[in-house]
């Protein structure tokens, strides 16, 4: 029993590795194709995508991933990498822009049509993204889902996928790097980011006080604090980027606005 669980785990890690490697190769291929047709793709975006893939690899396929099955603090490090830092790095690498540049006009049009579809608009709405992201975390840590994640490999895979995808969706809904079909005002996004950050902080302290089933108190306390401050650190980057975009968008456009003849 113990042995087959181990083999299963290795198989899943191999699957993760193949997926991540494919993701990296696809992006780099895209960069090569795009560079042939248009001006050079900024190298820092490729670096950001690579770092994002590395974060995911660290969370899913390293010794940390094995530890995270038995240690809540390791689990929380993986959670922060997979659900927050990797999505931020990857959103900043503008994969959709790269994809649109790489495709021919007809396919690019089809893709934008898909992105403008009602379903996608609903999915990428900031409120949906916050609920999927923070709501998912509440389900994971306040029900017996956390236990189930370690009992069943399949549940584990689904939760990892949700954590990353919801994190990506949320980040992309808050800071606009790729083209966005329906834009929301910076204030609207600022309020939702604050609410999400609050929800994350409240859950962290809740975990500190009420350890999920099967987690020793000490690990829950350390993990809760790590979630609280780690979340703050990544969210600080989101806040700075959002404010900077806001600052740039609200620059004075007319000479009068520059302070000469305001009345």
């Amino acid at each position: 029993m113990e042995h087959s669980g181990h083999a299963e785990q290795s198989a899943i890690m191999l699957l993760y590795m193949i997926l991540l490697l494919t993701g990296w190769v696809l992006y780099v291929t895209g960069v090569f194709i795009s560079n042939k047709k248009r001006r050079a793709w900024p190298w820092h975006r490729t670096a950001l995508w690579s770092m994002g893939i590395l974060c995911m690899a660290f969370a899913l396929t390293s010794p940390l991933a094995i530890q995270s099955h038995s240690n809540f603090v390791a689990h929380m490090v993986a959670h922060l990498l997979l659900g927050m830092l990797a999505p931020l790095l990857m959103v900043l690498s503008a994969p959709m822009t790269l994809l649109l540049r790489t495709l021919n006009v007809a396919s690019a049009r089809n893709l934008t049509r898909l992105l403008k579809s009602r379903f996608f608009l609903f999915l990428s709405h900031p409120v949906t993204a916050v609920i999927l992201n923070i709501g998912g975390l509440y389900l994971l840590y306040t029900t017996n889902l956390y236990q189930a994640m370690h009992d069943s490999q399949l549940v584990g895979v689904i939760i990892h996928a949700h954590l990353f995808l919801a994190g990506y969706l949320f980040t992309a809904a808050i800071i606009y790097i790729d083209p966005v079909p329906h834009r929301f005002s910076p204030l609207y996004r600022a309020i939702l980011l604050t609410l999400a950050l609050a929800g994350h902080g409240i859950l962290s302290k809740y975990i500190y006080a009420h350890p999920p089933a099967g987690v020793p108190r000490q690990e829950a306390e350390a993990g809760g604090m790590l979630m609280y401050y780690g979340g703050d650190a990544v969210d600080l980057m989101l806040i700075v980027i959002l404010c900077h975009q806001w600052y740039k968008a609200s620059r004075p456009r007319l000479a009068e606005e520059c302070g000469n003849q305001v009345n």
């Binding site: 600022a190 980011l193 604050t194 609410l195 950050l197 609050a198 929800g199 994350h200 902080g201 409240i202 302290k205 809740y206 500190y208 006080a209 809760g224 604090m225 609280y228 703050d232 969210d235 600080l236 806040i239 700075v240 404010c243 900077h244 806001w246 600052y247 609200s250 620059r251 004075p252 000479a255 606005e257 520059c258 302070g259 000469n260 305001v262 009345n263």
Partner: protein, 168 residues
């Protein structure tokens, strides 16, 4: 490069200050809130270890209030600094009014933290294992003093602003 104006710059600045008067006030208030929260976290939680991350008597509403204020102050710190940059960019920065706002914001946050969060919601106490009364007293008096300084500066700048408005 900033666009320069040939004639009296002081007059322009004075006018801009009036135009961006409430923007100065809010940027200052938000910075004050953020700064007070930052000091609370850095000094009392991390350096002195007086405040506790969680206290067994913490009420649920205390947890929610802490989460919202923590997130809000984190955003306010960054946002207010970008607002400050915006004021400078638009040549509308009014330091006295901005600082007045900052004192008011910091004092108000400290008072909320000291009375509502520490006492009513029992989030955590200022310090453990000591007679807490003096700590609470000093904490809240400092908050009131900050608020008084802020209100004084804001009233002074408001007077100036009214004077400039009537001159025009």
């Amino acid at each position: 490069m900033a666009i320069t104006n040939g004639n009296s710059i002081d007059h322009t600045t004075a006018k801009n200050r009036v135009v961006y008067s409430s923007f100065n006030l809010w940027s200052g208030i938000l910075f004050g809130i953020g700064f007070a929260a930052f000091i609370d976290e850095a000094v009392f939680h991390q350096i002195l270890h007086w405040h506790h991350f969680y206290d067994k008597s913490t009420t649920d509403i205390g947890l929610v209030s802490d989460g919202i204020f923590h997130a809000f102050s984190w955003f306010a710190t960054v946002g207010s600094l970008f607002m400050y940059a915006n004021l400078r960019r638009r040549k509308g920065l009014w330091p006295k009014r901005w600082i007045g706002g900052a004192f008011l914001g910091a004092g108000a946050f400290q008072l909320y933290d000291g009375l509502i969060q520490h006492k009513l919601m029992k989030l955590h106490q200022i310090r453990y294992g000591v007679d807490i009364f003096m700590y609470d007293l000093v904490w809240n008096i400092i908050a009131l003093v900050f608020m008084a300084i802020g209100i004084y500066l804001l009233m002074k700048t408001r007077k100036t602003s009214n004077k400039i408005k009537t001159e025009r």
